[in-house]
């Protein structure tokens, strides 16, 4: 049977440095003067954690967790840097992909639209300006501009 007296005896030592000093100097005398039973006295002097724990933890007296269970209670909560690392990696990857895709798409679309519009406008203007002088040249010019301004056929040019 475990002993509530043993807990009281040891907690008394914990709170009273003077009494603890007397115990350190002469444990046998202090134990002899105490109201501990023989098993408790043996456990105190044994230096055996298992023996002491067995005396200190008795579910019949009080439902007390084992020392190990107590010791793991306040275990520190580790803080993985995963969320931060993940968000950093994600934002990096996202911005890289986005900028690549955006620049690709933008340059492709822009150059296509620009070349089309430019070719059309230029051809129109050129035709208007030169149509009377060189009536047969407009089709040739259009053809030349059309070939040169065809990035859609060569998407790598826009990247």
């Amino acid at each position: 049977m475990a002993s509530a007296e043993l807990r009281a005896f040891l907690s008394g030592l914990a709170a009273d440095p003077e009494r603890l000093g007397v115990f350190i100097r002469d444990p046998d005398a202090v134990l002899a003067a105490s109201d501990l039973d023989e098993d408790d006295k043996v456990a105190v002097l044994s230096g055996d954690p298992a023996a002491l724990q067995a005396r200190l933890h008795d579910s019949e007296i009080t439902p007390f967790p084992s020392i190990l269970q107590f010791a793991i209670m306040l275990i520190v909560q580790f803080r993985p840097a995963f969320p931060q690392a993940f968000s950093q990696a994600f934002s990096q990857a996202f911005s890289q992909t986005f900028s690549q895709t955006f620049s690709q798409t933008f340059s492709q679309t822009f150059s296509q639209a620009f070349s089309q519009a430019f070719a059309q406008a230029f051809a129109q203007a050129f035709a208007q300006a030169s149509g009377q002088v060189l009536p047969s040249a407009s089709s040739d010019v259009n053809a030349d501009i059309g070939d040169a301004g065809a990035p859609a056929d060569h998407p790598e040019d826009g990247t």
Partner: protein
């Protein structure tokens, strides 16, 4: 015997001084304050007199301690105000949730206007998430909050293993944090890894933890140290009159070791540091007194410990 409470502090002379000081501080505090104290790793002999005084005079004494002796003492010191925080734990419950609830409970007591003392085993601010958070939030609310130091497991380790962190330096990491956050260690200094017996676990487990991730940690350590480098498994003594657990083994054998959640790994330096001779000479020129200190040869050739068969 039920020890006296506030206004009747006449137990021990040394305790009396602390108690009176604590009482005076209480008088100057606005209602509702928080003080966090530690009970040490081994309650018998490691409790400070100031911690005892605060536990005695507090209106509310919330506690989370490592042994029934501390719990018994707390109940004696403050029978009306003592309240365990143990009930916040539950099997498989995420620790962060437990800590959040604890913090809210502590602050609830403080907000009610109580002088609230929180007593935790060891040092209340070392490997103790909720105590720091409670103080931080209390201060943010304009509430007086303070932490007193206690004796931590690291203090016990230095004493039991005879290590002076000032000689080689000392790096200290929680084992899971060390592993997953790629912490960099200096193999010329001492390294302490805490909670190796709970590696990779974020929930409370009453019967211990699954350690199937342990080989990952050992692999990582073997990239830093020779596989035969001797490390030390350490567990501080919790009960008076008992010896600490000290087991030395090669680093490669860690996976076969008998670990529990309170096991700590101490890794001694594996090699000597490389002095910066240029800086050394500049220091000699600027600080002649350094010559005397250096005559012990300490700065040039610090002794290596724990290597090979040590």
């Amino acid at each position: 015997m039920i020890p006296p409470r506030r206004g009747d502090l006449d137990c021990v002379a040394s305790e009396r001084t602390s108690a009176v000081r604590a009482e005076e501080e209480v008088e100057s505090m606005a209602p509702g304050s928080l003080i966090v104290v530690g009970t040490g790793i081994r309650t018998v002999g490691q409790l400070t007199t100031e911690a005892i005084a605060w536990m005695r005079i507090a209106d509310r004494l919330l506690y989370l301690v490592s042994d029934p002796i501390a719990a018994d003492l707390i109940m004696k010191l403050n029978p009306e105000g003592a309240e365990s925080l143990q009930g916040f734990y539950a099997e498989g419950k995420h620790r962060q949730q437990t800590y959040d609830e604890m913090v809210e409970h502590i602050l609830g007591r403080v907000r009610e206007g109580h002088i609230t003392c929180v007593a935790c085993y060891g040092h209340p601010g070392v490997f103790a998430t909720p105590t720091h958070e409670a103080i931080r939030r209390a201060k943010a609310e304009g509430i007086s909050a303070r932490m007193l130091p206690g004796i931590s497991a690291e203090d016990c380790l230095f004493a039991d293993l005879g290590i002076d962190p000032g000689v080689h330096g000392c790096q200290s990491y929680e084992a899971t944090d060390f592993l997953i956050n790629r912490r960099q260690v200096d193999p010329t200094s001492s390294v302490i890894l805490w909670q190796i017996g709970a590696l990779g676990n974020a929930t409370f487990q009453r019967e211990g933890y699954d350690l199937s991730a342990l080989p990952l940690l050992v692999d990582r350590l073997c990239t830093i140290y020779p596989t035969d480098h001797t490390v030390c498994l350490y567990e501080a003594a919790i009960l008076y009159g008992c010896e600490p657990v000290v087991v030395r083994l090669p680093i490669r054998d860690l996976t076969r070791a008998d670990l529990n959640p309170v096991t700590t790994v101490y890794i001694p330096p594996a090699r000597r540091p490389t002095p910066d001779l240029s800086l050394y000479n500049r220091l000699l020129a600027l600080a002649p007194d350094f010559v005397r200190a250096d005559s012990s040869n300490r700065h040039q050739a610090p002794p290596l410990v724990g290597t090979g068969s040590d």
